[in-house]
C-alpha cells in the first residue's frame, strides 16, 4: 500500500515536470512560457518530494523534504516575477492574442523615471 502511494505520487510528479517542459516548448511568448515553467515544475517537484517524504517516513526526511518544498515555493514566484518584469521591460515579443495589458500604462511612467 505504502509503495503504491509513493509510486503514484512519483509518476504524477514526473508527469507534471514533463508537461512543464512541453509547455515551455509549445507556448508562443516568454511570459506564457514562464507560467508553465514555474507553476508546473514546482507542482511536479513538490509531488516527488512528498513521495520521498512518505517513502522514508522518518521525521528527519519529512522535515528535509518539507524544507525543500518551502524553499521552492518561496523562490520560484520571486524569480518568475523578476524575470517577467525584466523581459517585459526590455520589449519581449508579446503574443498578438493577448486580451489585456495592465502593465502598459504603468510601464511607460516607470520608463521615464529611470
Amino acid at each position: 500500500m505504502h509503495d503504491i502511494i509513493v509510486g503514484i505520487l512519483l509518476v504524477s510528479g514526473g508527469f507534471f515536470a514533463c508537461v512543464a517542459g512541453l509547455g515551455i516548448l509549445r507556448f508562443p511568448d516568454v511570459l506564457m512560457r514562464m507560467h508553465a515553467s514555474t507553476k508546473a515544475s514546482t507542482l511536479g517537484v513538490g509531488l516527488i518530494l512528498t513521495a520521498v517524504a512518505i517513502y522514508f517516513g522518518t521525521l528527519e526526511m519529512i522535515a528535509r523534504s518539507a524544507a525543500t518544498i518551502i524553499f521552492l515555493l518561496l523562490t520560484a514566484p520571486v524569480a518568475a516575477h523578476l524575470l517577467g518584469k525584466a523581459a517585459y521591460r526590455t520589449g519581449a515579443v508579446l503574443w498578438q492574442g493577448m486580451s489585456k495589458d495592465e502593465l502598459k500604462d504603468y510601464a511607460e511612467t516607470e520608463q521615464e523615471s529611470q
Binding site: 509503495d3 509510486g7 515544475s41 516527488i48 524544507a67 521552492l72 523562490t75 525584466a86
Partner: protein, 108 residues
C-alpha cells in the same frame, strides 16, 4: 532499507524518464529560445527538474544522501535566475546610454 518492490522501481524509472524528457524539452528551448529571457526560463526549469531528479534518485537508490543536493539546490538556484534577470534589465539601460535604438531582443 529493503530492496524496492517491483512496482516502485518501475515507477521511479518512469518518473526519471519523464523528468529527463522534460529536461530535454528545456534544452531544446535553450537552443531555440529566441530571446534571452526564454533561455533563462529554460534554465530555471532545468534547475527545478534536477531537484526532482535527486529526489527520485533518493527513492530509486534507496539512500537518503541524495536529498542534500536537492535541498541546497532549491535554495541557491534562485540566485542564477535573479542574476540573469538583472543582466537582462541592465543591458538595455547600458544600450540606451549608448543611444542605440532598442532592437527587439530577437537574439539572446
Amino acid at each position: 532499507m529493503t530492496e524496492n518492490s517491483g512496482f516502485l522501481t518501475w515507477a521511479s524509472n518512469i518518473t526519471l524518464a519523464l523528468l529527463l524528457l522534460g529536461m530535454l524539452f528545456a534544452v531544446i528551448r535553450l537552443r531555440l529560445g529566441p530571446s534571452l529571457p526564454d533561455r533563462v526560463v529554460a534554465l530555471d526549469l532545468i534547475a527545478a527538474i534536477i531537484i526532482g531528479f535527486t529526489a527520485t534518485l533518493a527513492v530509486a537508490g534507496n539512500d537518503a544522501i541524495f536529498t542534500n543536493m536537492g535541498l541546497e539546490l532549491g535554495l541557491i538556484s534562485f540566485l542564477s535566475t535573479v542574476a540573469f534577470a538583472r543582466y537582462i534589465e541592465r543591458r538595455i539601460i547600458l544600450e540606451k546610454k549608448a543611444t542605440r535604438p532598442i532592437e527587439r531582443s530577437t537574439k539572446g
